[in-house]
Subunit: 139 residues, 3 copies
C-alpha cells in the first residue's frame, strides 16, 4: 500500500480570555481534521509561543481546570522573586512543564480521544491573540 | 524511495495494580512493534485517559519510581482542598504534567531507547483496567 | 501525490557544561534539517537518557532559564531524602516532568518556531557527553 498524504501545517488563530486560561480547542481541531480529509493517522498541535502550552485533560468538570490553575500558581507563585524582569517568569515555567505539543490519534476520520478527554490551549500570560500550528499526517 | 506503510492505531489493554502505579510497558511495546513489521520509523503511545499518563524513565532501580511517586504527592497532596468533587483532582494534575503521549525511535526493527530507559504507563487513579493506543509509523 | 521520504534517525553528540544546563540546540537542528533535505514535515528530537530532557522555551533572555533552574530545584531539592542511592534522584524527577521528546514543525525547509522559541537540551546530571536522536519526516 502506497500512502498518499498531504501533511501540511495549518495555522489556527484563537483569542484567550484571561491571564491564565485553559481554552478548549477540541472542536476547532475536529473541524480542521475534517477539512484535511485524513482518515487514519496522527494529528500534531504545536504552540509557537513561550508563555503558553497545550495539553489533554478532562472536559466534563470545569473544576479540574480550576484546580490545575491553583496548583500551578502554588508551584510557581506570581510573586516569584525572579531574575527575568518582564514579570512573566512564572508563565515561562508553567509552559515548560505543560509542553509545547500534543499527538492526537485519528481513526476513521475522527479524533480518537478518551471519553472525557479534551484538548486545551493553556494560556499563562494572556489575554492575547495566539496561534496554533496543526498538522494531520496520514491518509 | 517510495515508502509503503501501514500506520494504524492498535489498542493494548493493561491492568494497573495500585492507586499510583508506574507500570513498565516496554516489553508490550516491543512485541507490538515486531507484529507491525516496521523497521525504521517512529512509535507513538497515546493514553486515552485523564488520570493517567505515559513517560520514559529509568528501569534499573525501582527506587527512582518510588521517589517520583513521593515527589508528585508532595507537589499535589491527596489532601488538596480541591474544587473537583470526585476526590481525584490530584490525579488529573499529575497526568497533565506527565503528559499523554511519548514518541519512540525505531531503528533496525527495534526500539532505540537509552541503556537505562523504559516506557512507563503512569496510573494516578487506580487500580483499573486501562487502554493504550499505539502506532508504528515507518517502513 | 506520492510522498518520497527518507525519515531516518540521526545522532547528534553534545557536551553539557554544568550539573544543570539548558543548552540551546536550535542551531544544530537547523543544520541537520538542511542536510536532510526535508521541506515540509515534522522533526522529532528524542533524548535517550533518564536524567536529561528536551523542551522549547525563550531564547532571548537567559534569566528565563535561570528562573527555571531555581524553580525546579525548589520543587525537587538536591537534598531530597530519596530512596534512589546514586544521589541523582532529583535529576530523574526533573527529566520526567520536562519530557524526553519534542515535535518541531518544518515549513519551506526551515524550523517554523515562534519568534522567541529555542530548543533546549535540559541536562540535570552533568556535565557529560550526551546524545540526541533526531528525525525529519516529510518530503
Amino acid at each position: 500500500m502506497v500512502r498518499e498524504v498531504m501533511a501540511i501545517w495549518r495555522e489556527i488563530t484563537i483569542t484567550t480570555r484571561a491571564a491564565t486560561d485553559f481554552l478548549e480547542i477540541t472542536g476547532d481541531l475536529m473541524a480542521d481534521l475534517q477539512k484535511s480529509g485524513v482518515k487514519t493517522g496522527m494529528g500534531t498541535v504545536f504552540v509557537p509561543h513561550t508563555t503558553a502550552g497545550v495539553m489533554l485533560n478532562e472536559n466534563a468538570d470545569p473544576d479540574v481546570l480550576y484546580d490545575l490553575k491553583q496548583a500551578l500558581d502554588r508551584i510557581f507563585p506570581p510573586s516569584l522573586n525572579a531574575a527575568h524582569a518582564e514579570g512573566n517568569s512564572a508563565a515561562h515555567l508553567k509552559a515548560a512543564l505543560i509542553g509545547s505539543s500534543v499527538n492526537l490519534p485519528v481513526v476513521e476520520g475522527r479524533l480518537r480521544l478518551g471519553t472525557w478527554q479534551g484538548v486545551y490551549f493553556c494560556e499563562f500570560d494572556g489575554p492575547r491573540r495566539r496561534k496554533l500550528l496543526v498538522r494531520w499526517e496520514g491518509k
